[in-house]
Symmetry: C2
Subunit: 180 residues, 2 copies
Amino acid sequence: MIGIAADLFAKNGYHGTGMAELGQAAGLGRGALYHYIGSKEAVLYAISKEQVDKMNSYAEALFDLGLEPEDLLRQMARGLLRNIAEHRSEWAVFFREHTALTGARRDHVIAARERYESYWRQALDTGVRVGVLRQTPSLLVKGILGMLNYTYLWLDPQGELTPDEVADMFLDALIKGLRL
Amino acid sequence: MIGIAADLFAKNGYHGTGMAELGQAAGLGRGALYHYIGSKEAVLYAISKEQVDKMNSYAEALFDLGLEPEDLLRQMARGLLRNIAEHRSEWAVFFREHTALTGARRDHVIAARERYESYWRQALDTGVRVGVLRQTPSLLVKGILGMLNYTYLWLDPQGELTPDEVADMFLDALIKGLRL
């Protein structure tokens, strides 16, 4: 259901997709649809939170491993691109449409995205502290995440480079530029 | 009119914005609206093509200056971020909604975006040819543009860093990693 809804929202936009279409695609009548999912916004919320929550758990697990900062950054990039390659519609909806969420749902998703950004900043800061990376403005994290996140537009698990190879290529370009 | 429409599309989505709202925001009645702008898709097209066409002209002008490859890349980045900072709604609409275009309009916008990518690739290739940059997979251009383009989400002309400073920071991080 979430995957089908993500495909529809990614294709026609959240505002451009009606509950009737959602129900039809999911093979549910209007009554069943409202019963199971409550509202269109609840579906958008489920789509928006699922992958970013996963990426936060993934980052936390990597931090627990006590990797060197460069390895940590590389593994975070690989994990993100692997996930994006598998869930392109979900990420498209998350990036384009999460601002349509309201109230506590919006707060949760924005907080989750900020937490994910903070893990990247923390990894870069650790690199500075242990003396392997130079100090950089905190806005650089948004640039790195722009580089990684917007692969959802073109990353192809069967493409010329695997998600891991794309992640490595991006980090190869960046890490040298960030070394002390 | 284009600016007003871009703000509306950026806020509510292309599919979520009706001609009636467009007319109201522009202070035009339904008849006048159709007379002046023809269709909602014509407005989306005007929004989508304007800035990318400008960026192509800007890149062509820079190429004509015969700059060193690194300077060329830096100036291209600065030009793009300056433009994005001034036209965030237009870029939001371009990135999120240009796939809603059809026929020749869609073809024009996609070709213009590909031309812009090709200028970046050409600048990187020149750096390789003259022996200052290392050879990189062509997909790197999509990463660099991801880094630059998605500043439309947060770049603030009155923010802690100017668009030029953000561009320089990104290119500082990248160019060292791309040097031979």
